[in-house]
Symmetry: C2
Amino acid sequence: MNFFDRLAHRSRAIDSLVCVGIDPDIRRHSTEDLVPYLSGVIEAAAPYAACFKPNIAFFEQFGIDGLRALERTLAAIPQDIPVIGDVKRGDIGNTAEAYARAMFEHWGFDAVTLSGYQGLDTVAPFLAYDDKGVYVLCRTSNPSSSEFQELPLANGRRLFEEVALTATSWSPRVGLVVGATAPDELRRVREIVPAAPLLVPGVGAQGGKPEEVIAAAGSEPGRIIVNSSRGILYAATGDSFAGAAAAAARDLRDALRAPAATGS
Amino acid sequence: MNFFDRLAHRSRAIDSLVCVGIDPDIRRHSTEDLVPYLSGVIEAAAPYAACFKPNIAFFEQFGIDGLRALERTLAAIPQDIPVIGDVKRGDIGNTAEAYARAMFEHWGFDAVTLSGYQGLDTVAPFLAYDDKGVYVLCRTSNPSSSEFQELPLANGRRLFEEVALTATSWSPRVGLVVGATAPDELRRVREIVPAAPLLVPGVGAQGGKPEEVIAAAGSEPGRIIVNSSRGILYAATGDSFAGAAAAAARDLRDALRAPAATGS
């Protein structure tokens, strides 16, 4: 099974579209307490997690000790739960091959996020690993995302639409990152690439609403996952952090259940 | 002095526009011989190097041992030579802050390359370090670069032109990555952003010609550096590698001297 099949399988098995983002805040941790804390969250949230998504930036900020902590954090994730490396790398040729080797062979991620500005050359070396998946940045959830992503093209499309069409044409193992904070654009992406796997960040702290995401992009397992990072990881501070993380992941799972499914 | 001032100073002091790319090929090295080899090249090529540019992908591919080797490689670079971290990161908000912390505080790079697809939010946390510089991907040197970068916009510009104008408007400490393999596009970028610092990869192995680069983009110190990686690093194999690297860097320096300067 490739990544997207594994993801669909896991989503169905636990009836959840939740992606648990692992983004440790450097102000809250030393490198010593990082692994126990994150392992506690992982163990508690796992029953509700279609997948986990560590963002490597938050480990890199601690230097090499942080990457050692990432190794140990990844080891705490149960084998049957797919792991997306949120690495947003984007380079070409032999450099892209080197990144693919790092992410898939060294770190063992099942999928990664990538920036597609340089075209297929960036993504192809990752697709050479035929059990792995890729999510290309399409329409992101940040304030300045419109500076380039919404530029109107001469062909009548906006840039993020062109990226959606082109990137998903490369392979069925290419999905898209589309933020929850712009439900109209999310609906538009779903309209033009109905089968594309979507990774949707931006619910919770960033303001996206779970029910709007599902209304815009559907709820088919494998075709959509909705990420929450801080909302789960730091649902509570102090000794109750793990239980609070589990409750936050469960609440997001419930909020993402499509009305039809909830009513049945 | 900020990065671009330091770069201009160094370029003038040694009359060189050469950026020496440090991109170790995993097929040629073990993690044990990586540092002695790269240190040998650095020492030999330093007299001709306006700056060094390690691409972190080639260290990440060796796993954490590779990053230890990067630490030791960086320590071998003389203090007065600026170092660009070719990391092509691109994320937003607190994630971009984490990457900036990693690159400038942990690794100590003087400048970095970034992907700008998500707009100013990606770049701003790096600009908060006021002695540092940034190069944003604009028109790259790979075959598929035209898939997105050359898209015609409704306003009559191509995407890479819009990126050039927008990114350099953020700060004078934002430069652009523009490949040597497309001299017409390089000339166009220089025309629309005459003062922008440019980092130009793609000479040598990738087919770009030094004299065409200078004709298209000028030769003002700090405003342009021309990168060669494999052409210097692997100029020869066997015991003569360091001497051959020095000769290759010197030859590129000479090829980049503007005709007017050469004739004086």
